[in-house]
């Protein structure tokens, strides 16, 4: 059964179609990718999935729930987490505090609990802290938990974002260009990490990526879009040999040169 199903998605801004009649699905437990040339509408798809954009038409079914037009925080609570293309950490807060933001939707202590600090609240805080430390350990930076997040290296800041997303206890993890700005070694570690997230934690992954090498290495299913429309779908090999895909990429390159 598909964990995520996108049906006939439509999105337009000021009369301009950004996504046109897009349909695709992500199988439970798989690693899937969404690729396409610059400006193809990949991030817009993510924003529709996570509730930041309201699509004009179409349907999104996630884990048996219709989530289209729901608020982002509700979608996160349903079990979909995301990272951002440009880092969006809470810059002046510590790494651990950043990760703890993910646990917010899985905990419930309100203002009265905060003031009384009764047993349940203290247990909840302790559990939150423990789980978030585990998340940091999983992405490999437990030693930085007390550091202010903006003081970390770029690569480590990326890891904080992943840990933060993992702390929401997601079923599906959306990664928006996770390899952007990483060097070769970091990319290798990223590939390993993506696989570990799926294999060890059982979390389904959908990623947007420019780095073809990385996409081809990790993805089991690839959806290619251009101008907001799906032009190809399949495994790495199928997509690589699809003439439409080659045209979309090469054609685009030629335009840029011209």
């Amino acid at each position: 059964m598909a964990l995520l199903e996108v049906k006939n998605l439509m999105l337009s801004f000021a009369g301009l179609d950004v996504i046109k009649d897009l349909s695709f699905s992500v199988e439970n437990g798989s690693i899937a990718s969404l690729i396409g040339p610059n400006g193809a509408g990949k991030t817009s798809v993510f924003n529709c999935l996570t509730g930041f954009y309201k699509p004009n038409d179409g349907d999104i079914i996630f884990d048996g729930n219709r989530i289209v037009r729901k608020k982002p925080h509700k979608i996160t609570k349903h079990g979909m987490a995301r990272t951002f293309q440009n880092l969006r950490l809470f810059k002046s807060m510590t790494v651990l505090d950043n990760v703890m933001s993910g646990m917010h939707c899985r905990t419930k202590a309100g203002p009265i609990a905060a003031v009384l600090r009764h047993g349940a609240q203290q247990r909840e805080e302790a559990e939150t802290k423990k789980f978030c430390q585990e998340c940091l350990e999983f992405v490999g930076i437990p030693e930085f938990e007390d550091h202010i997040s903006s003081n970390l290296s770029y690569g480590n800041q990326r890891r904080v974002e992943w840990a933060r997303a993992l702390a929401t206890k997601p079923k599906l993890l959306l990664l928006d260009e996770p390899a952007a700005g990483l060097n070769h070694d970091e990319k290798q570690q990223l590939i390993a990490l993506i696989k570990r997230i799926r294999d060890e934690l059982g979390i389904t992954i959908l990623l947007i990526e420019h780095d073809m090498g990385l996409v081809m290495k990790v993805s089991e299913k690839i959806t290619v879009i251009d101008y907001g429309q799906k032009i190809a779908q399949g495994n790495a090999e199928e997509v690589q040999n699809n003439p439409k895909v080659i045209e979309a990429y090469l054609g685009k390159e030629e335009e840029e040169i011209a």
Partner: protein, 328 residues
Amino acid sequence: MADISNSTSTNSAQAVKAGGLMAWLEPQQNRILVLAALAGIALALPLILNNYAMEVMSSVWFYVVLCLGLNIVVGYAGLLDLGYAAFFAVGAYTTGILTSHFGINFWLTIPVAIFFSICAGVIIGGPTLRLRSDYLAIVTLGFGEIVRIIARNLEITGGASGLIGIEKPSIMGFELNEIQHFYYVFLLLAILACFISYRLQHSRLGRAWQYVREDEDAAEAMGINRVGIKLYAYVIGAIFGGVAGCFFAAKMTAISPETFMFQQSVLILLGVVLGGMGKIPGVIIGAFALVLFPEVFRELGSMRILVFAVVMLIIMLYRPEGIWPAKK
């Protein structure tokens, strides 16, 4: 009592202190020592102060409560509220109307005032908290004025002259009618306000406010309902203002709409910003400055707002974290 750190919750371990005082204050036991000493001084002040000085000090504690309440909205949640006096008015008028028109015991009016403050917070905040922050500022300003005009126009609120003859509260037959009594009442309220503020700041909710303040979209993506979280801040701030209003009405025994003008809201905001938004000791300093300045510099009294405004501008330009030092 818990330690009062001037920082946000968790950046203590790797923090490097700027000043010697701050460094000395770092260990928990030193802080508790200072707090205990300060508590002793505050409790003992009535022994050495005359009535006038005590009147002024009660006013200080009173503004500490109001400023801490607004601090939850402005400092913690990062929302500019220019109509905070409206909540203060809701509390004061609830107590005033219930005691003078219906003869209800003062203490029973407090839960009613809290209920109405919550209602006012939800009515004002509910539809408006999703707005951009500058629109929110204007909307809250508008609501503040609306509340004042309603109080001015209605029969039950005593119209423009307001209410007089509000009963003074008593505890088990002991009537609170001297300034010493109110000094301790307001001191107690201020301590309670500090305690609640501190606990809230260092909680799941307090962190959520900080997330939303730093990056609304990222917070939303992490599963935080930003409108709900802001509403919490707004309503809790409203409760602080409402409760302060109850005691204000009881102490003054007379209230009129002029007390709840836009200038009052600005004054409270000044207190929050001067000392340092979001920091409890900073806000307390702000409240002190607010009340003591016109009393100490009587001849500059009419220039009070001008002086504060200049200081506020300088603070925003050169030291946005306020007078109270921040941990690096």
